[in-house]
Structure formats: C-alpha cells, structure tokens
Amino acid sequence: MNRASSGVILVLLAGMGIGATYLAHHTSAPRIAAEQRLIDSRNLLDLLPAQSYDNQPLEQPLAVTNIPLANSTLLGGYMATRAGQPSAVLLRSQTLGYEGKIELMIAIDANGKLLGVKTLKQSETPGLGGKIADWPNAWLQVFIGKSRHDPGDTGWALKKDQGQFDQVAGATITSRAVISAIHDALRYFDEHRQPLIGSSAHD
C-alpha cells in the first residue's frame, strides 16, 4: 500500500470506467434511439385509430410547411395510408393561445371529417386553458366527426360567439384559438384535397 500503486490502480480504474461506459453507450444507443422514436410516434399518432393505417405516417410527410391560414399556421403534415390508399391526413397546426403558442395535431380522414385533435405543445394557465393538454381529452373529442361544412361557418365558434361549441371553463381565449385552428385545418384540407391526397370528395 503506497502512493505509486494507488496511482496505478486509480489510472486503471479510470480507464476501465471510461471503457465500460463507452461500451455500454455504444451497445445501447441504437436501441434507445429506436425506442425513443417509437415513443415519439406513439405520442404523435395515438389520435388515429390503430387499425386505420398501416404505414409509418411520420416518414411520409406532405408538402405542407409554414402555410399561414386565417387564424393559425400549418407547420407540417403527414399522410396515413391503409393498403396503399390514403386514410387520413395529419396536420400540425400552430396558433396563439392566451399565454403563448399552442401546437395541435389535427387528423382528418379522406372524406374531410375530423378524426381527432391532440395538443402537442402549450403554455396555457394550468388548471384552466392548460386542460387542453390532457389526453384523452373530453373537450377535444366533441369535434370528432365534424367537417368544414358541418357545422357551417357560423357554427364553428363558441356558444358565447353564437357558435355551437362549449368552451373550456375559464379559458375563452384558449378555446377560441383551438376551435379556429381546427376550422382552419379542415378548410385547408377541403380546399387542397386534390394535391394532398390525390382524390376529390367521396361524398
């Protein structure tokens, strides 16, 4: 037991430590990355019914980037297909809420009907507007099955604004922003059905 042997042991220990950490990182990194991708895509896509698509929508982006709409901006879009046929379009929409930007994922089926809406990012007041981030979300489920013309333009608003939808309690501005963004996305899809999914309306 002397200083020199202690030093040698320390150097060996450091070398082994670095080696073991590097090896662990090297062997686990691909798996961790793959699992991270799976978690990400599950988080982004769980608003689509699992049997409604059989492709990897996130690897099939649409030519939609930063398109300004009336009340929101479309950041991007993805295509979900089933047996080679377009089954749904996912639009990533950004709008301005009460506190800041709100990012939504809006899924629309090939007939222009809303399949689901999910909040991806928000900074609204916790307990009030922040409730839009809850998942599953009873308030956002109300919009499922609606389309651009059902209800009509005046119906696509809060009851407070003579529309037909309830608001999130205590969060008028947040609710208004979300409704407008959903309506914007449905309108965009309706007007660009041909370039987006290559077919005209079924009904």
């Binding site: 202690s6 082994m16 062997t27 961790i32």
Partner: protein
C-alpha cells in the same frame, strides 16, 4: 442524529419525493439503487485495502459514476418509458454511494446494511403506492411535489406517534 447521517438522509429525500409519483417509478429507482450499491460495495471491498486514504475518494467517485452510468444506460435500453420519469434522480445514486462510503455504511454489519436498503425500498414503494392511489382517486395534490412532502410528513408523524405509544404497553 450525527451530521453525516443528516446529509445522507437529506440526499435520499430528493429521489424519495421526486421518483415516487408512481409505484413503478419508485420500484425502478430502488432496483437501480440496489444494483449500483451492491456492485459498488463489491468493487470497493476489493479496492479499499489497496489504496492510500487520499486515493480512496477518487476511486469511490470513479466507481460510483461508472456503475451509475452503466446501470442508467442498461435501464434505458431495457425500457425507456419506465426510465424516463426517474432519469433525473438516477444520477443521484452515484452521490449517494460516495456519501455512504464516508458514512461507514460499508463497514457496518451486513444485517444493518440490508435493513437500511430494505427500509429505503419499503418507504419508496409505500410512498409511491400511496401517491398513485390518492392521485387516481382524485386527489391531484398527492402526485405533486408538495403533496409528496405532506404525505412523507404524515408518515413520519404516524411512525413517531406509534413509537411513542409503544413503550407504555
């Protein structure tokens, strides 16, 4: 309570509150703690007599850091979803090892060591289970950090009341 045991206990407080929002997270962190502390104990047992006291601290830090990072990466590769809520607190295990080393933990009888680890695990799991159940039954506060502190306080108070009433029997 000695000064070093206060330090050890306050270090345990961060994972005890932070990683017990669900019983699965608590179990995950505790398992990682047990694996690291056992491997560390074996490693230091082999090294301790071969090192001068000044080199011991460095060796202890190196070993604790290596083991913690390797276990963390293994846990991530095994189940990332399970690891994510405890990732922040898993790093503290390394610090815990070094503190336990200087606390004489590894020189204490084996039974005492097992008892301390088991008590830590029971407390983590109990708190995790309690917070998850309360959170699911509508008491959202229980899942937040202040709720964790309140519950821990209540548990300690219960234990002390129990301990105080015991001698009179």
């Amino acid at each position: 309570m000695t000064k070093s045991s206060t330090l050890q206990n306050s270090l345990m407080l961060a994972p005890l509150i932070g990683a017990t929002t669900s019983w699965a997270a608590a179990l995950g962190l505790w398992l990682m703690f047990i694996v690291v502390i056992s491997a560390y104990g074996v490693g230091m047992w082999a090294l301790r007599s071969r090192l001068v006291p000044t080199a011991r601290l460095l060796a202890s830090i190196l070993l604790a850091a290596t083991l913690t990072s390797c276990v963390q990466m293994a846990a991530q590769a095994w189940s990332l979803q399970w690891h994510q809520p405890v990732a922040l607190y898993a790093g503290l295990i390394a610090l815990q090892c070094v503190v336990l080393e200087y606390n004489g933990f590894f020189q204490s009888p084996r039974l005492d060591r097992v008892r301390l680890c088991a008590a830590f695990g029971a407390l983590m799991l109990g708190l995790g289970l309690l917070r998850e159940l309360l959170g699911k039954s509508g008491l959202h506060l229980a899942t937040l950090v202040p709720g964790g502190f309140i519950l821990l306080g209540l548990l300690i108070a219960t234990r002390q009341a129990w301990a105080r009433s015991k001698p009179s029997h």
